[in-house]
């Protein structure tokens, strides 16, 4: 176990260490045990009939977007919050933490370093959750198709619900994206988060292929 641990998790913050508790006592912490879960993810239950319809309606009308500007496209998100576009009236609002959000906007290219954080953040979001890919970069690499540091296709790493064309898409196109997402959720097609769970190994393989220092456990919720 110790050996394996050494090979896998080189990050210093993942080493077993002693910390002081507020009362002054010293306790030992094993970050991998204590801070991460050891369980594989489970799909959430998709209900049937009017209950599910009601839930879908509720989900569609409260899209809470995680405030994580991953690329260029994030410059067009602030205008949506301001009165000119006012996305609150469509039930969309920004949240600061993944625990409160259900929509993740990947605003353009993802460098490998960000991808690692994005995966962690995505996994921390409660299901059902939705991913919107903005611009060319998430579809086929965009301008950075030949860059050594950006991924080419987002759908190899995360399940994507909606793509919006543009480099970068305008706020109006983003609103159209939200409208489309709502439509999908209401039709009951917004369960990509379960796809992620079902094809978990495939996604993890792809993620690990590009993230060279995978110094964290596979499960992040």
């Amino acid at each position: 176990m110790e050996e394996e641990r050494k090979d896998k998790f080189l990050a210093p913050e993942n080493e077993i260490r002693q910390v002081a508790a507020p009362d002054g006592s010293i306790i030992e912490v094993d970050p991998l045990e204590d801070y991460f879960t050891q369980e594989r993810p489970k799909p959430y239950k998709v209900r049937k009939g009017p209950v599910e319809n009601f839930l879908n309606w509720a989900r569609a009308e409260s899209l809470w977007v995680l405030g994580f500007g991953t690329g260029c496209g994030s410059i067009e998100i602030p205008p949506l919050v301001t009165p000119r576009y006012d996305m609150f009236r469509f039930g969309v609002q920004m949240r600061a933490t993944p625990r409160q959000s259900n929509v993740f906007i990947i605003s353009g290219y993802l460098s490998v370093k960000t991808l690692k954080r994005v995966i962690r953040t995505y996994e921390q979001m409660p299901s059902p959750k939705y991913v919107m890919g903005l611009g060319s970069c998430t579809i086929n690499g965009g301008m950075y198709f030949d860059s050594y540091n950006t991924i080419n296709r987002l759908d190899h790493y995360l399940p994507v619900d909606v793509y919006i064309a543009g480099c970068m898409p305008r706020p109006e196109a983003l609103l159209a994206g939200f409208a489309k997402l709502k439509e999908l959720i209401k039709e009951g097609k917004g369960h990509k988060a379960n796809e992620y769970v079902e094809n978990f190994d495939w996604y993890k393989d792809n993620q690990k292929k590009v993230i060279n220092d995978w110094n964290m456990p596979d499960y992040n919720w």
Binding site: Y85, I139, G141, F145, R153, Y163, G166, P171
Partner: protein, 596 residues
Amino acid sequence: MDIKKLLTPLTAWGNITKDPVTIKDPLNERPGADRYRGFHRNDVEVCIGCGTCEEICENEAIDMVAIAETKDGDSGLRPMIDYGRCCWCALCVDVCTTNSLSMSNEYTWVTTDPEDFRFVPGVDKKDWDKGDKGWKKPENYEFYSIKRVHMEELSPEERNGSFIEMMKGYSKEQAEKEADRCVECGICTATCPAHMGIPEYIKAIRNDDLEEGLRILYDTNPLPEICGRICTHKCESVCSMGHKGDPISIRWLKRYIADQNPSEKYKKILEVENLQPKDKKVAIIGSGPSGLSAAHYLALMGYQVKIFEKLEKAGGMMRYGIPEYRLPYDQIDKDINYILSLGVEIEYNVNIGTDISLEQLGKDYDAVFSGTGLQLGRSTGIEGSDNEHVYYSTDLLRKIAQGEEIEVAESIVVIGGGNVAMDITRSLARLQKEKYGKIQIITTSLEKEENMPADREEVVEAREEGCVINPGWAPKSIEIKDGIPTGLHVVKCNSLFDGEGRFNPQCDLDVKEFWPGTMIVQSIGQGMDISYITEEMREKLEFGPRGRVQTDEYFQTSLKWLFMGGDIIQGPDVIHGIANGHMAAVGIDRMLNPEK
């Protein structure tokens, strides 16, 4: 704490009475600006599929896919754009050689399937195809110069009465500037029958590497000095630059490369100093473009080549059919002497069929290539055309080239609208000027001005020199008085072809004219003389339409040892001849060296 500073910010509450700035329906209320760079549009009718957009796209977002039919100057490819790559920079629009590509002001496209984002604008119908707003190439700039670099030429006054070459050739700066205009689409390469590496040798000019340029020329064309002057330049007529401006002067650039390389260095530059000789012999009949071309490539392959030429000098129609002011004889000699220096033998004044029979050649040699060309003038067949003062242009041109004195009349009428007609017109005009000090010559053609087969510049230059070109008339009869023509009766010709595309001239007999002239020249095409092929052989040969011998793709006839090419197979055209000769050489090599 300043109480004022506690209260002042509260003035912001004043905004509560103002109208909100919110856009009510942002999805529909906000079209892009007039210049917005939204989704692509392409006018597929105008697009020629040159691929320049693909070339300039820094994201490799554009693929050329086969959509339309390939025709002259249109590759049949159309750009397919991948919106998983595009960055909406509109460089493709600005660089488009035909201005067919533009962008609409639409910007909303949401989908769940990323594969949707690949589409062919103009072919895959989209909502934004119609509107006319959006980005178009700004009028005030181009990414390349669309104006041709002018080549200096003699003034019409200097040209008249002299056979000095009229085009002076490019200087280094001019050639590099002209070469810079090329966008390397390759439509010229595909159109050129010889598939010359045109973008490549233009690139060599830009890089100032004329030796490399010469090597590229000789890869496909062993007569660059000649072709650089008188090629029919199908490449230029399809040049993608010609859609917005002037096509690139590909021909003059070729001439520039050839002119700048001295003939004594050719062997070194072209790396032909130690060829591997083979013990097989090939005979070539005729030293026209196809014969010379075949001889050149066969010699490079190591064959022992011998050319049989009917006249006293080599070059065929290039020497005897094209006036000196367009193609000086020393330039012909430069190309031919190089080919002969590769070990090609040539025997002059040998007439196949009378001096030596074709069968004999076939027995003596491993293969025979015949490129005898079209030397016979074709008659109009109108009344009076059998008069002795009614000439064929081919005969006259040959005589001028041979230095023979010809009887130039004071007033001349030429029938014909092709390049040969222009050649004879301008040659006779020069002779008239020498002899009489003035020019009086009328040239007429069936075709209207815009459809005349002659090159545009030939017509313009002829007019500059004082010749009258009056197209759109059908010759009716030649009036003869005392055995000497007095002139030509013509009627207005309205159309040449009928609804089904057949040659069927429609004339308006009421509109007629009489053009006086004591010398009438017919220049309406040439016929071939294949009398050297005996009856016996004719039975073995297969014939195709229009009395031409049937050959395969390597110009091999049904007699395995006999290859035929050039004008007799392809019709009159120097570059076709060169291509045929080259291909026949490859064919002969394949036949004689089947193991390869």
